[in-house]
Symmetry: C2
C-alpha cells in the first residue's frame, strides 16, 4: 500500500462523523455549529462545535486537510530540514468540555503530514488524554487500561504514556495538564499501512475510553465551589493551549481559520490569584496525587505482550 | 547622576503604593492580597492583588526587583549580545479588570534593565494602554490627550503611540488589543536622568488618565449580554497575554513566582465559537472603529512642541 493522504483523510472524516454522532447522542440538547471551507487544491476545513448542552458545555470536533506552499516553523521543530517545503497535512482533533465538574475534560488528536516527492517524507502523530477536575481513581485506571489496549502491547503503551506525560506538562506550574493517556509524533513504525492501522485503533479507542466515564459521572450533583474549581482548572487548560501547546502555535502560524484553531479553548475560565486548595480536600488530592506522572496500571496484571 | 537601580526601585515602590491607595479608594469593597518575597542578593517581589470588589473585579499592582545570573532569551530579543550575562531588573506593572463592562480594562508597565559592568548596559521600557469593551469616543480621546501630555511633545507621543499599536496587536485575530496608549522599549533617550524623569512622568500620568474614565462609567447600568461580551473580549486579553506578550514569556522563562507573572490574567473569561456581533451594534462598532490603529487626536489642535 503506497502512502496516500486521501486514504487517511477519508478515515479521519469517517471518525469525525462517528464522534459527532456519539457526542450528540450523549447530549441531545447541545447545539451544533460549523461550516465547511474548501480551499483551492482540494483542502477542506470542517469544524463542528457542540455547545450549550445540559451535559456538554462545549465540544469541538474538527477535521482539516490543508495544502501549503511552505511548512511553518512550529511544524518542523523535530524535522528542521523540512522547513520551507510544500506539504499536505490532515488532522482530526476533539475536545470535550463537560458541564459537570465530576466529568473530566478530554482531548484527542490524530494527524498526518506528507511532503510529497520522489522519496516522500511522512509521519503520523496524535494521541488522547484526560483532564479530570476531581480524583476518581477507577476512571483513571479504566482510561489507561483502554489506552494500553489501543496500543496492543504494554511496551508501546509505556512509551506513549510517558511521552504524553512529558508533552501535557505546564512547566511554569510544574504540574501535568491532566492524567495523560497516549502521545506520539514522527510516527512511521512498521511503514505506512501499519502506522495507519495503529492510528485508526487509537481513534477508535478514544470514545470507548471516555464514554463510560462520562456516563458514570454526568448526573453527579455538584455545587458552586466545585464549579469554580473546574473553571480555575480550565484556566490552566487555556494556559497550556495558548502558551505551551505546539499544535496551537502551529495553527496560529499556519494562517488557518482562527476560530477553528482556538475552538479547543474552554467556554469559560477563571483565574484567582494564588488560590490553594485546602490541605486534605479532594481538590488538593487531585493536584498532589493525580497531576504528576505515575504508573496507573501498576496494580493490574500485565497482559502478555502481543505482537502487533 | 550615575546609573542606579536603587533609585529606580524606590520610585517604582512609591508609585506602587500610590496606585494601590488610589484603586483601594475607588473601590473600598475589594480585598487586598499579596505577600512579599525577598531573595538573596537584595531582590524583592511585592505583588498586590485587589479582588472581588463591587467595581474592581481584579486589579494586580506588582513590583519586582530581580537579580539574575543569566538573562533569559525573551528579554534579549532586541539585544542578543546580552544573553547569558548577569543582570538586574526592576519593574512595576498594573492591570485593572473592572466589574462593569462600560469601564475599560487598563494596563501599565514600567521596567528598568541593568547589566552592570565598567560600561553598564541599561534601558527603560514601559507604557500604558486602554482596553474598552464599549465604544466611548470621549474616553479614548481623553486617554490619548493625557498620554500626549505625559510625553511632553507631540512628536514623542506619535512615536510611542504607534509603537503601542504595533505591540498590542493580536496577529492571529488581526485586531488591536484595545485603543492603545504609549509603548517604549530600549529607552535611554537623553541619558539616565532624563530617561528616569520621563518614565516617572508616564507613571504619574497613568491614573490621571484612567481615574476620570473609571468614575464616569462605573455606575452605568449593564445587562447580561454586555457582561458576556466583556467576558469574550477578556478571552482575547488572555490570548494576548499567554500567546503573544513578550513580558509574559519573559516571566514564564525567568522562574519568577508564577502567580505574580500571571496575575494579569482576567478573573473570568469566555470563549464562544465563531461569535460575531450584530452589524450596527455597539459591539460591532468597537471592533470596526476602535480596534484598529487611528489618530485619536486628529480633530484637536496640536499643542506646540515643547522641549523636554
Amino acid at each position: 500500500m503506497s502512502v496516500s493522504i486521501i486514504a487517511v483523510r477519508e478515515k479521519f472524516l469517517d471518525l469525525q462523523q462517528e464522534i459527532i454522532q456519539t457526542l450528540s447522542g450523549l447530549d441531545q440538547s447541545a447545539n451544533c455549529q460549523g461550516n465547511d471551507l474548501e480551499t483551492s487544491g482540494g483542502g477542506l476545513s470542517r469544524p463542528r462545535v457542540l455547545s450549550n448542552g445540559k451535559h456538554i458545555e462545549k465540544a469541538a470536533v474538527q477535521f482539516t486537510h490543508s495544502l501549503g506552499p511552505s511548512l511553518p516553523q512550529a511544524a518542523t521543530d523535530r524535522n528542521p530540514d523540512l522547513q520551507g517545503l510544500p506539504f499536505q497535512a490532515t488532522s482530526i482533533s476533539v475536545i470535550v468540555h463537560p458541564r459537570n465538574p465530576h466529568v473530566p475534560t478530554t482531548h484527542m488528536n490524530l494527524r498526518f503530514f506528507l511532503v510529497d516527492s520522489d522519496d516522500p517524507v511522512w509521519y503520523f502523530g496524535g494521541g488522547f488524554d484526560l483532564t479530570p477536575y476531581y480524583p476518581y481513581q477507577e476512571d483513571v485506571i479504566q482510561w489507561h487500561q483502554n489506552a494500553r489496549l489501543a496500543c496492543g502491547s504494554d511496551k508501546r503503551y509505556r512509551k506513549l504514556k510517558s511521552q504524553c506525560d512529558e508533552y501535557f506538562f505546564l512547566p511554569h506550574r510544574g504540574e501535568l495538564r491532566g492524567v495523560g493517556g497516549l502521545f506520539f509524533d514522527d510516527w512511521k513504525e512498521g511503514g505506512f499501512e501499519s502506522s495507519q492501522s495503529f492510528v485508526s485503533a487509537v481513534g477508535g479507542a478514544f470514545l470507548l475510553g471516555y464514554k463510560p466515564i462520562f456516563l458514570r459521572r454526568h448526573n453527579t450533583p455538584w455545587n458552586e465551589d466545585e464549579e469554580q474549581w473546574m473553571l480555575m482548572r480550565r484556566g490552566r487548560y487555556a494556559e497550556f493551549n495558548l502558551a505551551v501547546d505546539r499544535g496551537t502555535r502551529y495553527g496560529l502560524q499556519s494562517g488557518r481559520r482562527i476560530e477553528a484553531v482556538l475552538a479547543s479553548l474552554p467556554p469559560r475560565a477563571v483565574w484567582k490569584y494564588d488560590h490553594r486548595p485546602e490541605p486534605g480536600s479532594r481538590e488538593a488530592e487531585l493536584i498532589l496525587n493525580y497531576l504528576r506522572p505515575q504508573d496507573w496500571l501498576k496494580d493490574l496484571d500485565k497482559p502478555i505482550d502481543s505482537p502487533l
